[in-house]
C-alpha cells in the first residue's frame, strides 16, 4: 500500500473514556494497523500533528484556552475532523458547570471544599486559562463527523473507520446510536 492512513487523536476536556473505548476494538487493532498509523496521539506521545493527517479524532469539549489551541491545530492538520463522544458534541458532564459562575466553581473546589489544605486558587502562569463556559467543539471549528456516546462503543469506532477506509460514506445504524 502506498501510504497508510494517518490518524491523530486527542483528549481535550474529556476523561479518556473515549480513548479507552476505542482500544476496546481489541485484536481488530491489528487489522487497523495494517492500513492506518497513529500520528499525534496520547497513544504515541507524539506532541504535534504532522502536516497532512487524514483523520483527527477529538475527545472532550473545550474548557480552557489550551483546548482551543489544540483543537485549532487539529483542524488545520486533519482532512477529516471527528467529534468523538458526548463531551466533544455537547460539552458533556464538564458543561454542567455552565450555569455556575466560574469564580464560584473555583472557590468551591480550592477554598471551601471539605478536606482542602492550604486553600488557594491555582494561579501559575503555566496553567491554561479556564474558559467562562465549557463548549462543544463544533462551536469553534468545522466538524465533519460526530460519533455520539458516553463513550461511543468500540463498534462505533470500528464501523466509522472501516466505512471511511473502504471509501463509503460513514453511517451509524440504529443500534450504534446512543447518547449515554
Amino acid at each position: 500500500m502506498a501510504g497508510k492512513i494517518k490518524v491523530a487523536t486527542t483528549s481535550l476536556a474529556g476523561c479518556f473514556g473515549c480513548h479507552m473505548s476505542f482500544l476496546d476494538i481489541d485484536e481488530r487493532i491489528l487489522a487497523l494497523a495494517e492500513i492506518a498509523e497513529f500520528d499525534r496521539s496520547p497513544l504515541t506521545d507524539i506532541k504535534h500533528c504532522s502536516d497532512q493527517v487524514d483523520i483527527g479524532l477529538v475527545e472532550g469539549g473545550l474548557c480552557n484556552a489550551e483546548n482551543v489551541h489544540t483543537l485549532r491545530e487539529f483542524r488545520e492538520s486533519c482532512k477529516i475532523l471527528v467529534a468523538v463522544g458526548a463531551c466533544a458534541i455537547n460539552g458533556g458532564l464538564p458543561a454542567m458547570r455552565n450555569h455556575i459562575p466560574l469564580q464560584e466553581c473555583l472557590e468551591e473546589s480550592y477554598l471551601d471544599a471539605v478536606g482542602v489544605e492550604n486553600p488557594q486558587i491555582p494561579n501559575d502562569v503555566e496553567l491554561p486559562l479556564l474558559l467562562n463556559k465549557v463548549h462543544p467543539i463544533h462551536e469553534v471549528v468545522k466538524v465533519d463527523y460526530f460519533l455520539p456516546g458516553c463513550p461511543p462503543s468500540a463498534d462505533v469506532f470500528w464501523k466509522f473507520l472501516t466505512d471511511l477506509a473502504s471509501g463509503a460514506e460513514p453511517s451509524l445504524p440504529y443500534e450504534l446510536v446512543h447518547y449515554d
Binding site: A83, A86, I89, N90, G91, G92, L93, A95, M96, N98, H99, K133, H135, P136, H138, E139, V143, Y145, F146, L147, P148, C150, S171, L172, Y174, V177, H178, Y179, D180
Partner: protein, 245 residues
C-alpha cells in the same frame, strides 16, 4: 355505511369520523413521530414533531382532523430531516446531559433522536439556567430537561383534578411553574400516584429514589425503537377511544 379513507405514503388508511390524522395512523399501525401528543389527552400541538404533508401542506398530525381522500406524506426523507432539526432545537434549548440523566434509555426525546439518526445538535447550545425543584419528599422536578409539552399540565388538570402545573412566560423564557404560594412542589398536594407524575416524556418529572433501577440493556428503548414501542402502547388506547365514539 361507506368507510372513510385517506392515504399515508400511498397506503390506504381507514378512519372514523372525528379522528385526527395521528389517531387514524396509530390505529392502522403507522408511526408518526411525536412528543407532545399522547392519545390519552387532548392534543396540544406544540412540538411540531408530528408534522406531515397533507395534500402538499405542512400540518400537525396530532391536531389535524382526518378527512376523506387526504393524501398524507409521513415517512419521507424531507420530513424526517425537518423533524431531526426540530429535535436538535429541543436539545440545545434545554440542558440535556444524557449520561447523568435517570431517564436515559427510557426517554422519548432521546429515543426520537435515535429514531431520526440524530448524531449531534448542530446549533450552538443555549445552556440556559433553569431551576431544579427538589423540595418534595417523593417527586422531583428538573426543569433543565423540560420540553414544555404540557402533558403534566393536562394530566394534573384533566385527570388528577389538581392543577399543579402550568406554563408561564413566552418564547425562550417559557417555563413550567408550580401552583403553590411558594412555587415549590412540596407545598402542592401532588402525590406519586398522580397521572401527572407518570406522563413526562423526558426526565423532567421523576419519582425520587428510582433512578437507574433498570440496568442498561433492559431499558425501554435499548432493544426496540420508539416507533415500535409507541404503536404497541398507543394502538389499544386509540382503538378503545374509537369504540367509545
Amino acid at each position: 355505511m361507506t368507510e372513510h379513507m385517506l392515504t399515508i405514503d400511498g397506503q390506504r388508511i381507514p378512519f372514523t369520523e372525528g379522528q385526527t390524522i395521528i389517531e387514524a395512523a396509530t390505529a392502522a399501525g403507522v408511526y408518526i413521530p411525536h412528543l407532545c401528543h399522547n392519545p390519552e389527552f387532548k392534543p396540544h400541538g406544540s412540538c411540531k414533531l408530528c408534522t406531515v404533508k397533507v395534500n402538499g401542506r405542512n400540518c400537525s398530525a396530532c391536531t389535524f382532523p382526518a378527512a376523506d381522500g387526504q393524501e398524507v406524506l409521513n415517512n419521507t426523507q424531507e420530513l424526517n430531516e425537518t423533524r431531526r432539526t426540530i429535535t436538535q432545537m429541543l436539545f440545545i434549548e434545554g440542558n440535556h446531559f444524557c449520561p447523568s440523566c435517570e431517564k436515559s434509555g427510557n426517554c422519548q426525546l432521546q429515543a426520537v433522536g435515535y429514531y431520526l439518526n440524530m448524531l449531534d445538535a448542530h446549533f450552538p447550545f443555549f445552556y440556559p439556567s433553569r431551576e431544579v425543584d427538589a423540595s418534595h419528599q417523593e417527586v422531583m422536578l428538573d426543569r433543565d430537561r423540560c420540553i414544555l409539552c404540557e402533558l403534566c399540565v393536562r394530566a394534573s388538570r384533566d385527570v388528577d383534578g389538581k392543577n399543579v402545573f402550568a406554563l408561564s412566560g413566552r418564547g425562550i423564557n417559557s417555563h413550567l411553574i408550580v401552583n403553590s404560594t411558594t412555587g415549590k412542589l412540596k407545598d402542592t398536594d401532588i402525590s406519586v400516584d398522580d397521572k401527572a407524575v407518570h406522563v413526562c416524556p423526558v426526565g423532567a418529572i421523576l419519582i425520587k429514589r428510582k433512578g437507574f433501577e433498570v440496568p442498561i440493556g433492559e431499558r425501554i428503548y435499548d432493544g426496540q425503537d420508539i416507533g415500535q414501542v409507541s404503536l404497541e402502547h398507543e394502538m389499544p388506547i386509540v382503538e378503545e377511544a374509537e369504540h367509545g365514539r
